[in-house]
């Protein structure tokens, strides 16, 4: 009974425990990082065995010795072996980093956990305190408090940990706040789990990986800053430290510049290992996510399609033939649309119906040339306005979009830029596409707002998206879509996110506009009722292909394909309702 998981875009999830470590190690950079860190730790633990000489043994004749003169990496300003000092220095470095990380993590994560979960006053107070800590320049404070701390570099590292705890606090608090409202937390509360148990079982799981990443980065920062302080002369001069070695090299910079290299490289490599480890973990976490958004350059399809540019019937506005759309998956292409053909006449409304994963939205985006990053038209043609859109480069598509082909998205609020006024978002594209002046575009926009049913166009024009409701936002988007009088309108589930009463009004609006402007329309939907309300013809899609196309009345009355029949049967009809019979009290199992 296990159904195939057909959801193409899985939401990013926390990694399963089993493969986590292994996959980080499989990443070459991650492996290199782990190797370097293992070497450093081994050097610290086995220093007496590995170091060729005593790190503090002064030999006058080896002062500023060049590499090879008895000392592998040369001698420092006091004639001590640089290599041995490097090896012993790992102890100091690691101890310092460990101190910082433990303190910062303990304070920051704990505070973030409670402040994020309980919120309100605890959050206010904690955030204020940690913001205050963040305002302090760390090195300055550490220098200032140095003597008060008894001139101990380790106590300084403790204070440094305190100064770095805001980073952990912010991270943990934000993560917890994001997770706090997830439904599975609600489910846990309903099940009677105490707050502490919820934090332990659910929230810690989620914050695990980001905190580990932060630890790696903070360790890197700690090492660099500690080296800096030692370079300035803080700390115990009798203990070999990498920063102290740099100070020594600095004092002899005119004599042996070479001795600068080794401690610097040691610091750089160790910190780099931490950062690469952090990156490898982060990459592993995001392995389910999408690649970064890039300019999608359309690959031209078959070059022969331009010969068939003119469709047979002049009344046909859009002619899609054997369209195949795919996304790269490993080495091959995974096809999400597997050969779709459809035709659209002028003024006609076509409903594109299907369940999730049917490819209906991908078909719509392919026509618009707005597939998600990575998506390509692999085969087929899209004939529109005498051209084949499948082979058209981006510049050509840009001319058509907004002017001849328009788009209405599903989710109104997230499709308006929250930082700009609605008026601006209506006017800006009109100026670009139609080449008219700002003033003229504004007048047009106001007329459009009135046409789509806004009670106060002026006010809406001046408003920001967060000041209007979802239904109004969708009308604004419709106004924007019809602004340049397009020939073809592609609407992607335009009413799914709206309340049902608002939905009816918006559907009325779309129908009126379609008739008035004689626009052809493709309406992507999963709702047969919407199709019955507003479309002339309907195509049913399944697994990337169209299984049936017909006039609306025909399809509803006499569905030909089994899948169509199954879908229509699934529509809840006005059958008999359930009758209630009083129950005997059930036994608790």
């Amino acid at each position: 009974m296990s159904e195939v998981n057909s959801v193409p875009l899985a939401p990013p999830t926390a990694p399963g425990r089993e493969h986590f470590v292994r996959s980080v190690l499989l990443n070459p950079l991650g492996l290199a990082a782990v190797v370097i860190l293992v070497v450093v730790v081994a050097a610290a633990v086995f220093a007496p065995l590995l170091a060729p000489f005593d790190a503090t043994a002064v030999r006058i004749f080896k002062v500023n010795a060049l590499p090879g003169e008895g000392y592998l990496l040369g001698g420092d300003g006091a004639g001590r072996d640089i290599l041995s000092r490097l090896i012993y220095g790992t102890r100091n470095t690691l101890l310092g980093a460990l101190t910082v990380v433990v303190v910062a993590c303990a304070i920051g994560v704990t505070a973030g956990l409670f402040a994020g979960y309980y919120g309100r006053r605890l959050d206010l107070v904690a955030s204020w305190i940690f913001d205050a800590l963040m305002a302090l320049p760390a090195i300055i404070v550490l220098l200032a408090l140095y003597q008060s701390l008894g001139s101990s570099i380790y106590l300084s590292m403790v204070v440094f940990g305190v100064l770095l705890s805001p980073g952990f606090y912010r991270l943990t608090r934000n993560l917890v706040q994001n997770v706090k409202h997830e439904l599975y937390i609600d489910a846990a509360r309903v099940s009677g789990l105490s707050d502490l148990r919820i934090m332990r079982r659910h929230i810690l799981l989620v914050i695990r990986a980001p905190v580990v990443i932060q630890i790696a980065i903070v360790a890197g920062v700690a090492i660099v800053i500690q080296a800096g302080l030692e370079f300035l002369g803080l700390g115990d001069p009798s203990v070999p430290t990498w920063g102290g070695m740099l100070q020594d090299a600095f004092q002899n910079i005119y004599v042996t510049p070479l001795s600068l290299i080794w401690p610097g490289v040691a610091i750089g490599l160790t910190v780099m290992a931490f950062v690469l480890l952090a990156n490898a973990i982060r990459d592993r976490m995001q392995s389910g996510g999408a690649a970064p958004a890039r300019a999608v350059r359309r690959e031209p399809a078959r070059s022969g399609s331009s010969a068939m540019a003119a469709p047979a019937d002049p009344d046909i506005v859009l002619d899609v033939r054997d369209l195949v759309v795919g996304y790269p998956d490993g080495g091959r292409d995974r096809e999400v649309v597997t050969g779709v053909s459809l035709q659209l006449r002028r003024g006609e409304g076509l409903g594109l119906v299907g369940e999730s994963g049917s490819g209906k939205t991908q078909t719509a985006f392919a026509i618009l040339g707005l597939l998600s990053p990575g998506g390509r038209i692999l085969r087929g043609s899209i004939l529109f306005g005498g051209r084949d859109l499948a082979g058209l480069p981006e510049a050509g598509m840009r001319e058509l979009r907004g002017r001849r082909i328009a788009y209405i998205p599903q989710e109104p609020m997230s499709n308006l830029d929250p930082s700009f006024r609605i008026g601006f978002q209506l006017v800006e594209p009109m100026v670009t596409v139609l080449g008219i002046s700002r003033a003229e575009a504004k007048a047009r926009a106001l007329r459009l707002l009135a046409r789509v049913g806004m009670p106060d166009p002026e006010r809406t024009f001046r408003s920001y998206p967060h000041q209007i409701s979802g239904g109004m936002a969708q009308r604004v988007l419709i106004a924007g879509a019809i602004a340049c009088n397009p020939d073809l309108l592609i609407a992607d589930e335009p009413t799914t996110a709206l309340d049902v009463t608002v939905q009816a009004e918006v559907l009325d609006l779309l129908r009126d506009l379609q008739a008035e402007f004689n626009m052809s329309m493709i309406l992507v939907t999963h709702n047969f009722g919407v199709v019955a309300d507003i479309c002339h013809r309907v195509a049913v899609m399944k697994d990337g292909a169209i299984v049936e196309t017909n006039e609306v009345r025909e399809l509803f009355a006499k569905p030909r394909h089994q899948y169509t029949r199954m879908l229509l049967d699934a529509v809840l009809e006005d059958g008999d309702t359930r009758a209630y019979t009083p129950r005997a009290l059930p036994e608790v199992a």
Binding site: S6, T13, V190, R201, S356, A504, H526, A532, D533
Partner: protein, 271 residues
């Protein structure tokens, strides 16, 4: 006629700051009954459901569960059968912790209530998966390996773990495909007939509510505007708003839809 009632909400009032979200809401749920709660966004239907679950605030009024007032009592402090009230939420992708195995998810409420140890609960898992028609090997897998419909089944199995007398279902099929929707609804009905559990079925979709409910309450702006037998409310509503809700939902028949459109338009003109 004076049968014992499982849930009795009396004049429940809730404020979010100054925003009056629930206004003297009263409704009842009988043993083994499904009461559908319909409304658009902002109607307060979800707030009422959460109040009954104990994870939402109640400013005044009473929520009697088997005669005991549980208004404002968080789930952890509820005792007896009230402690077993469970929920199935809307989003199958975020109602299951993605880092936990199905077995962990299903045993969590049972162990949390101290009704069994981990080991004992583990044997229950098989029975629960059976009840929702999922294979036994699902126990060791993670939510991301399942489809939306299957995840809702898992959520239902989780809810059944405590043998509850009431399950609050908050838009449980709204995020599912049409074909899956029908199957999951049938599962809800089958479970109710087998175990006698009652549902508060919250939804924005009148058709869905009609399919599964015995009685239906319609909410708008924090108030219940109509509450009655399912057939009457969803086919011959008395209140104007319910009528408008009914007419606004499009049906899969072009001619009938055209007629409903005309009727809706006529209603709006009169208003």
């Amino acid at each position: 006629m004076d049968e014992p009632v499982l849930v009795d909400c009396r004049d429940v009032d809730t404020f979010f700051g100054t925003h009056h979200v629930l206004k003297r809401v009263s409704l009842t749920i009988r043993y083994g009954e499904t009461v559908g709660l319909v409304g658009e966004s902002g109607s307060g239907k979800t707030t009422l459901g959460r109040a009954i679950l104990g994870i939402g605030p109640v400013s005044s009024g009473r929520i009697l569960f088997e005669g005991v007032d549980i208004a404002g009592v968080p789930p952890r402090e509820r005792r007896g059968n009230a402690a077993a009230i469970q929920a199935v939420f809307q989003d199958p992708y975020t109602s299951l912790n993605p880092s936990m195995t199905i077995e962990d998810i299903l045993t969590e409420p049972i162990v949390a209530r101290g009704m069994a140890t981990r080991a004992e609960a583990a044997t229950r898992v098989r029975a629960l998966l059976d009840q929702v028609a999922l294979p036994v090997d699902a126990a060791g897998r993670y939510p991301r390996e399942f489809s939306g419909g299957q995840r809702q089944r898992i959520a239902i199995a989780r809810a059944l773990g405590l043998s509850p007398r009431l399950i609050v279902c908050d838009e449980p099929v709204s995020a599912l495909d049409l074909s899956t929707q029908a199957r999951v609804l049938d599962l809800f009905v089958e479970i109710q007939e087998r175990t006698g559990v009652a549902y508060l079925f919250v939804s924005h979709d009148l058709a869905v509510v009609r399919h599964i409910s015995h009685r239906v309450a319609v909410m708008r702006g924090g108030e219940i505007v109509e509450f009655g037998e399912c057939d009457q409310v969803t086919a011959r509503p008395r209140h104007d708003y319910t009528r408008r809700l009914l007419l606004a939902a499009p049906v899969a028949d072009p001619d009938r839809q055209a007629a409903r459109r005309a009727e809706l338009r006529a209603m709006s003109m009169k208003a």
